[in-house]
């Protein structure tokens, strides 16, 4: 490294300040940092403050009530349901996403005809605005005109169409072995499943929409991970005779673990902190059975105007987010090492 003797004149003009790394760096960073502190840091602090007061909409302050809001929230039945739903929706949808994205990424990383077109189709759910595509699912799960129900009635379940795939399955596997046969009762066209009107089905619908919208995101990150795998490792595995599942288990999986974890953590944050899907799809209904922490906080804080209560409910998410942040830094460092 060459060192150049630099003359530093005693009388420094303003212009020279801009040449000095010591000053220029902070000068360029400061506006962004100040903005983030003002619009993320301060509101977060304000949220914590509000959660400790009995503030209502219309005022920014209230009387200090300690942890009463947190305790009240914990005691309410709706909050318990919302907390359980948040956990279940997040874990189940992300499990589906992990398996799906793993399969899909392994196929998409190859070169094949029509790859660009397939990639376009697969990316659609990620690119489309969530609120709008959830409106699309409102129509897909409509109480009367649901295409899912129409297809079940006319094409899959017995009851009036001509194409029943389950029959082929039974014919192939289970003709003489009845326990394995698929036994399906017909559904009445005048009384089809109410996807958004029945608690269990509504929860399944919400999980499906979450998995549907996160899957493309996880897939592209997995593809990036697979594509960055050094070819030498591929060759070494081949020389050592590792193929198929063995190669996946002993070579691909350990190498992909850090980047897959980053994708998973993002997926968890996007799902657990999302309000849009539940708000648009069921608005917490039927009978408050599908609320999540975010929609329950919105209903409490905005619709019922109990600002302090609402802030306390949403802040129950904070420990989980902090944990995710710590894990992410951990794994980021691990990716750096490899």
């Amino acid at each position: 490294m060459a060192t150049v003797a630099r003359a530093t004149p005693e009388d420094r003009r303003w212009q020279d300040v801009l040449e000095e790394r010591r000053f220029l760096g902070p000068l360029l960073i400061a506006p962004a940092v100040l903005f983030i502190v003002a619009l993320v840091g301060l509101p977060l602090g304000l949220a914590i403050y509000l959660s400790l007061t009995d503030a209502t909409a219309g005022s920014l302050t209230g009387d200090f009530v300690g942890f009463q809001n947190y305790l009240d929230a914990w005691d309410s039945e709706n909050f318990r349901v919302a907390l359980r739903n948040t956990i279940v929706f997040t874990l189940v949808s992300q499990a589906i996403v992990l398996v799906g994205a793993g399969l899909l990424a392994h196929a998409l990383v190859r070169n094949f005809r029509g790859r660009w077109f397939f990639r376009f189709l697969i990316l659609l759910p990620w690119a489309a605005p969530v609120a709008l595509s959830t409106v699309g699912f409102l129509w897909i799960f409509h109480s009367l005109y649901s295409v899912v129900n129409w297809t079940l009635i006319h094409d899959i379940l017995p009851g009036g169409g001509e194409f029943y795939p389950y029959r082929a399955v039974n014919w192939a596997f289970a003709r003489d072995f009845w326990p394995a046969a698929i036994q399906i009762s017909p559904i009445e066209p005048i009384d089809p499943p109410q996807w958004l009107g029945e608690p269990t089905l509504a929860k399944a619908a919400i999980i499906a929409v979450h998995a549907w919208r996160i899957l493309p995101f996880a897939t592209v990150i997995f593809i990036a991970g697979l594509a960055s795998m050094p070819p030498e490792i591929e060759d070494a595995a081949k020389v050592d005779g590792a193929t198929g599942l063995r190669k996946f288990w002993y070579v691909t999986l350990p190498l992909q673990l850090p980047i897959a974890t980053v994708a998973l953590l993002f997926g968890i944050v996007f799902t657990a902190t999302d309000m849009t899907v539940v708000y648009v799809l069921t608005h917490g209904g039927p009978f408050n059975s599908t609320h999540v922490l975010t929609t329950w906080a919105f209903d409490t804080g905005i619709n019922s105007a109990a600002l302090g209560q609402g802030a306390a409910i949403s802040l129950y998410l904070l420990p989980a987010l902090a944990l995710v942040a710590i894990l992410m830094l951990r794994f980021a460092r691990r990716v750096e090492v490899t």
């Binding site: 697969i122 609120a131 905005i302």
Partner: protein, 277 residues
Amino acid sequence: MRRRDSVLTYATVAPFAIVLAFPFYWMLMTALRADNDLYDIEQVPYKFNAGSPTSANFRFLFEQTDYRQWLQNTALVGLAVVVITLVLALPAGYALARLSGRAGQSLGVGIFLTYLVPPTLLFLPLSRVIAELNLSDRLWSLILVYPSFTVPFSIWLLMGFFKTIPPELEDAALVDGASRLGALARVVFPLSIPGILTVVIFTFSLVVNEFVYAITFISSSEVKTISAGVPTELIRGDVFYWGALMAATLIPAIPLALLYNLFLNRFIAGFTGGAFR
């Protein structure tokens, strides 16, 4: 062997593609069908029956609803937020990548972590702040607040991008007598056009996507953005305009998906690259 591989590839990709893209196919089918065809359980929904296809739903959407206004509002907010984001994130991303060394790296990670603080945690206090500032029900509220989630991610993206530009280029400009800021403007930024475009598209798509702040701060129909307007104004009680609704959801999705495809690799680098490399 190769043949079996490609069959397996298609057998994996095709079912996923069908499931993932089906809602959009369904939006298109619904948007093109006439009302008497749509609201009839006897009709086969997979094909066009009497009266379909029709452009009536699109005409209704653009002539009888505030949809055009929402598109305009979204474009306006998007444009303003893109400008603010670039003004704040470009210098910061550059400085973090170049000028500040190890400390810059930690600060960059810190800024990125604020991206993990979701709007659903901040909308309650911000709704009060917006009310105090007399910005409720005005697009300015969104223009002010949206950069809070576009700036951290953009800084992160740009930081990774600036690191790929060799510092020797700037040094050469400095030797030739340019000032540091001059080198930045004349050498570095022209090379960063692809990175800047990525930020523009990502920021814009985040603005189109945003829902929580939009329904909290804005209540009048003519001030809404599309993400807030379509679910809250077009779905009213039992009167559903499903044909028009599906047209409304499909229109923004297609251009966004095309742009995402073009800039995909850079988005991925944003999530996994930067300090993760």
